[in-house]
Symmetry: C2
């Protein structure tokens, strides 16, 4: 093409014409980004100021140099998860392999829509998915697809559940004589409600089951709710258990819920977006006992396996269930005898090769490396838990089962109506004095502090600093009253 | 953490401890990838062989060097869109800015779920979305979100349409007294059917409207179908027009369909996944006249704007429609007074910062650069079209309206039942003799050759080679009979 308006490095020339100049441009950008991440500890865990260009679509190119400058400014205005005090969310610093893999995947820009459009990545995705199905003991017929995030994984699982149990694929829900309902604990992720809404079941089709003091679904309550729903003329079709609740990281009783599902002929979905990572640790895998009974599983390596977002998947015990109850052919795609076009069994059509960063992270870190990351985060979580238990006015939302602790102060020397404010003050104090950043979720109608120890650069000293910070804040606020 | 099992470069140390070693590792990987793309023309447009490791999750790290080697092998086993003969699909070679932006976005691994988790990217996404809404003349209340692919954009648009028109958000579809139906041309993208299935409307809720010889919806047929549906006791709620059909790149009569929608009080969605790019060209923008009447638009910069996948979005004329008819709050997220948490108005929750590569491509190429890419591809398409028209046995599927030509040979010297095979032979011949790769879609029950001139390294010589190849193939196959 006639390219006079394009900057010299707009594209990489396939005959090497601009190779030197591309190398100069990209090497410079690479070094600037590495320098920035390698000095994360000199900045705060959260950006000190947010500077982003207000220029959206300029008429002319701003050039290589200015682009690099502006990229740097945007990164400096972003959350800084590599900071050793970053422990607020299920959002880790990324594996190095993820970073270079996203660059590599972009460089060939293949499309997960079909085998023809991504011959290597489509095969790689199926191989890796099958291996992960084995880790969950899903049996020989299991399969699945990667999804761009856990909300989509839950949505697709429930779409297949609905179609499998209620035969809604062709003629929809409107013709059903009874209201379909599904069951999940009251602390299940909001993506379940979103999925029910999207699926045309309506938000009111999600019946919330009470949890015990450990935020785990009470199985007797599930049984009662099932009976009640049938009595009211509704059609239960699915139960969802959570392995790793969003706020407290607790695990529903997977085996017992699976038994109820089987007895009642319901689809059994396990949302293990967070907790699925435990399958990678010989030490903690047992916490997932019962997950192998699931008809479908959501699992997000983008959380506890440190793979850059997005890395998420939905798995099915029986690939035929997925194909029969979900797929719609695309006549414009070439067919291959043995391999399935992933766009036909996925919510998404065109899709980025997220598989590359997952696969590369597995190669670069190894299963044992991931086990160590998981086991160490338990170790540090227990260390912090022991310390928090000894602080009088600190209340835990639940006993930690993972690397998440959700707690709040309920200082008896101030009115309980001021506790939310006190806890927000504690969040700010620890960030200010120790550079450690907690999140501040609302849970059971109150503000809590929440830490997710999902950072390889957190150590015992970090925990000691947290403890120190809490103690000092208590003393200081006590004095003020 | 205690990191003895982890390789030294598993993560970038925030205090610079492994900076030198990370630079060595990543620079080496970068140079290998640049060398590979810079020599794309020395390989075929499609991989000569597919070699991928069968190792999925090793116990131990394979190390930096082996990882780079294996990444290279996978890239060599992938489709090679930078090859100057790559013109089969709506999958372009990526902008250089996309590549480095995906690396940069992964490096900070922020989450588009909420403003707190991506303070810069969330703001940037809204700014860019608002600017693109202006390009489509959607008016002052328009807004939207990026989605990981066009299928999700269509799905979200139809979810909002359904909820807005039928009030299905809370109590679902089962309680409706009449079957809801929507209308799209018979050549609309299959993601519309997928969306109808997922939304609980059922595949049979999509009523296909016939197209004319130019693959454009016949508006009179739409009117007839609307009347018929109402007569049958169904509830029409939505009409979908396509601006850039998948196989032939044609544009439905946007204005007329919009007028019907308005008169009949239907939601008007325009799937401009492909054609939306024309808004960036002063020369061709007029082809989208009428798009400003849409209630929602799907637009994918990952196609004709050369941004690496995924880069797609759904836009709404009225942000309030989106918020009221879609959003579900997430109590674990911090609230900000002015800014909306994108996870609350998106199908997705956790989401990669796709905005960075879109924004960076705009900065690096500029609007004029994109106009040139678009205008030049028209120029070359017309050049090819002129040549094809002169070849006796070549039949065009439609008159090109974009940079897509879909054609097939119908050589009268062989039986029409052998034409599919003849055209498959032509695809192979042109790949073999000239290194140029077409796709071979099924359309109107036959095999066609399809070219999408979506490659800045295609020039007049490429077109001449195509013409030469077709002519020689005709002569050779004629001789054989």
């Amino acid at each position: 093409m006639n390219q006079q308006e394009l900057p010299a490095n707009a594209f990489i020339d396939p005959s090497g014409f601009n190779k030197k100049s591309i190398e100069k441009f990209l090497s410079k950008a690479l070094h600037r980004i590495i320098s920035l991440i390698s000095s994360s500890d000199t900045r705060s865990a959260i950006p000190e100021e947010i500077n982003i260009s207000t220029q959206t679509i300029p008429e002319e190119s701003i050039g290589d140099e200015q682009l690099i400058d502006q990229l740097e400014t945007i990164l400096l205005s972003s959350m800084n998860p590599s900071h050793p005090g970053w422990i607020p969310h299920m959002d880790p610093p990324p594996t190095t392999a993820s970073m270079i893999s996203d660059f590599a995947a972009a460089s060939v820009n293949n499309n997960m829509l079909s085998v023809e459009m991504s011959p290597a990545f489509s095969r790689l995705e199926q191989q890796v998915i099958h291996k992960i199905c084995q880790l969950f003991n899903l049996g020989p017929n299991a399969s699945g697809v990667l999804c761009s995030g856990g909300s989509l994984a839950n949505l697709q699982a429930l779409a297949v559940a609905r179609n499998a149990k209620l035969k809604t694929q062709k003629s929809g829900i409107q013709t059903l004589s009874q209201k379909p309902v599904l069951f999940a604990s009251e602390v299940a992720h909001t993506s379940i409600q979103k999925a029910a809404m999207v699926l045309g079941l309506g938000q009111d089709s999600v019946l919330a089951i009470s949890v015990d003091s450990q935020s785990r679904m009470i199985v007797e309550e599930l049984k009662t709710a099932l009976k009640q729903a049938r009595k009211e003329g509704k059609t239960p079709f699915c139960v969802i258990a959570t392995a790793g609740t969003t706020t407290t990281g607790n695990i529903d009783p997977l085996e017992e819920i699976g038994q109820v599902s089987q007895k009642e002929n319901l689809w059994y979905h396990v949302d293990a977006a967070y907790g699925g990572a435990l399958a990678f640790s010989d030490t903690y895998r047992d916490k997932l006992t019962g997950i192998s009974d699931a008809d479908s599983i959501t699992f997000n390596p983008q959380k506890w396996l440190y793979v850059a977002k997005t890395s998420a998947m939905v798995l099915f015990k029986n690939q035929d269930q997925l194909v029969e109850n979900f797929s719609i052919g695309a006549p414009y795609m070439e067919e291959d005898e043995d391999l399935i076009n992933l766009g036909e069994i996925s919510l998404q059509g065109t899709r980025h090769a997220d598989i590359l960063k997952l696969w590369a992270s597995f190669q670069h870190i190894g299963r044992k490396g991931f086990q160590q990351l998981i086991d160490e985060s338990y170790h540090l979580t227990n260390f912090l838990h022991d310390k928090l238990k000894r602080v009088d006015c600190i209340q835990l939302a639940s006993t930690p089962e993972m690397n998440i602790i959700c707690f709040r102060g309920q200082p008896e020397w101030i009115s309980s109506s001021a506790w939310d404010k006190w806890n927000k003050g504690l969040q700010e104090y620890i960030l200010d004095k120790h550079g450690i950043f907690f999140s501040l979720p609302t849970y059971r109608n109150s503000k809590w502090l929440r830490t997710v120890i999902l950072n390889p650069f957190v150590d015992k000293q970090t925990i000691k600093n947290i403890n120190q910070g809490i103690t000092s804040y208590i003393e200081e606020t006590k004095k003020q009253t």
